[in-house]
């Protein structure tokens, strides 16, 4: 009849500090990959749009390659290859941070490219007419507008990134999901832990996407 009677959610409270550590890593990974990803992604976007053909080609290839392989494979690739190159073993956490930054850069670059292209060509001319160099035109005129136009989409991508960080499970990095799994094993209550952790993810993502929706409505009026 009541299937929930066999569940015991009292194990959640004592494992909260442990889960908090996992969530902190998840947040750290998300924020670093977001900041690094947007920075590298912007450079990649500029490279793709540049008139220097080899540069544009390399950037295009990088972006297309990253976007056509499963993130899980990319995680496994970096975890395997970085130590071979450096000759030193590397922790799962560090490997995850490098992987996500490099991977998300490809996705953010597509967003920034659309953003840059959404800025009217006349703005570039206006900047140049004032005597600005390429980098000045980009950093004072084009990129701020591109960034503002794309802010909702950048944030939506960040929510996806936040969810995707759970995949570091595959290399054993201790994020929120891994922490929940370990806690579940310790208390012999994996079911309750999975349910709880799903709830945490849901509440965070739902709240963030609600905020993005509001932001979108507001910026839509401004423009």
């Amino acid at each position: 009849m009541s299937f929930f009677t066999q569940f015991d959610f009292s194990v959640i409270a004592p494992s909260l500090p442990f889960l908090w550590e996992g969530l902190k890593f998840t947040a750290k990974l998300t924020l670093i990959a977001m900041a690094g990803g947007i920075f590298l992604g912007t450079l990649l976007a500029l490279a793709r749009l540049s008139s220097i053909t080899p540069l544009a080609m390399v950037a295009t290839w990088y972006v297309n390659l990253m976007r056509s392989i499963p993130l899980l494979m990319v995680i496994l690739w970096f975890f395997l290859v970085i130590p071979i190159f450096t000759g030193k073993p590397m922790g799962a956490e560090t490997s995850a941070i490098i992987t996500f930054t490099a991977f998300e850069a490809a996705y953010f670059s597509e967003i920034m490219r659309a953003g840059i292209q959404s800025v009217p060509r006349g703005q570039v001319y206006a900047g140049q007419a004032l005597g600005m160099t390429y980098w000045q035109t980009m950093s004072y005129v084009v990129l701020p507008q591109a960034f503002r136009n794309m802010l909702p989409i950048l944030l939506t991508q960040t929510i996806i990134l936040f969810q995707d960080t759970s995949l570091v499970y595959a290399i054993g990095a201790k994020d929120l999901l891994k922490a929940a799994e370990i806690a579940g094993k310790n208390y012999g209550r994996p079911i309750e832990m999975y349910v709880f952790v799903a709830l945490v993810y849901f509440v965070i993502c739902f709240a963030l996407s609600y905020l993005v929706k509001h932001l979108q409505a507001r910026t839509a009026i401004v423009r």
Partner: protein, 245 residues
């Protein structure tokens, strides 16, 4: 860099049997395609239904559809998979629960298909909704004005155009479902990523293994992309550029 290349590894036998590593990868490819296609079927059917319901005047139906989308969009895929695999069987009636846990054939496969199908259905639903809403209000009125019922207006007027318009984003979702099927390794579906990890451990030739697997993913995604492009060409409406209004 100190790495021992061995490109012949694929034709060598695995340590614990008489198969070759290539056999492993090919069977992994088969499972990847099977999971992705079966889940895509669910995602497309359910997503179209839910996306359509989000646009109907009936508040109750629209709310149910919105709840579906929010639920499946806001929990990480891997967490959803673990919920389906470990938690959902516990919520079933006793006999069914026992059957699922002990006797259900290809349990991992079906769990992965249902999970990935529902996860993607929320994304497909959003595309379908956007497609319908991108059509002018006059189209719906024109359908109603010649005497169509609301379902008929959707069937003959709105959905045929909406689907044509959203083929490009649906293509990305189709490629996503192929990539996302890699998550199924976590519950032991013997798909490509699972085989990649297994072969890497078994053969200790990680780079060759991953290169081969990456190439296979590339080929599958590329074929999917071409297939969708073909559909797009076949359904193109003359005099209508790229579906833009």
């Amino acid at each position: 860099m100190n790495y021992h290349w061995n490109w012949g590894i694929f034709l060598q036998q695995v340590q614990s049997g008489d198969e070759t590593y290539l056999d492993w990868l090919i069977s992994g490819l088969g499972w990847t395609v099977a999971v992705a296609l079966a889940a895509w079927l669910i995602a497309l059917v359910l997503g179209s239904l839910i996306g359509t319901l989000r646009t109907v005047p009936n508040r109750g139906l629209a709310m149910v559809a919105t709840a579906h989308v929010e639920l499946f969009r806001n929990i990480p895929l891997l967490v959803q998979l673990l919920l389906w695999f470990f938690v959902v069987p516990e919520l079933l009636p006793r006999d069914l629960s026992l059957w699922v846990k002990q006797d259900m054939p290809a349990k991992e496969f079906f769990t992965a298909v249902i999970c990935l199908g529902l996860f993607t259905s929320a994304r497909v639903a959003e595309q379908v909704r956007a497609g319908i809403q991108s059509l002018s209000r006059g189209q719906k009125m024109a359908g109603l004005a010649i005497g169509f019922t609301l379902p008929q207006t959707y069937r003959y007027v709105l959905l045929p155009m909406a689907f044509r318009i959203i083929i490009p984003p649906l293509t990305s979702e189709f490629m996503n479902i192929i990539k996302n099927s890699s998550v199924a390794f976590a519950i032991g579906v013997l798909e490509l990523t699972f085989q990649a990890r297994q072969m890497q451990e078994d053969s200790e030739q990680g780079i060759e293994t991953y290169l081969a697997v990456t190439l296979l993913y590339f080929i599958v995604a590329f074929s999917a992309n071409r297939g969708m492009a073909l559909i797009e060409r076949r359904t193109r409406v003359p005099g209508y550029i790229g579906g833009a209004k």
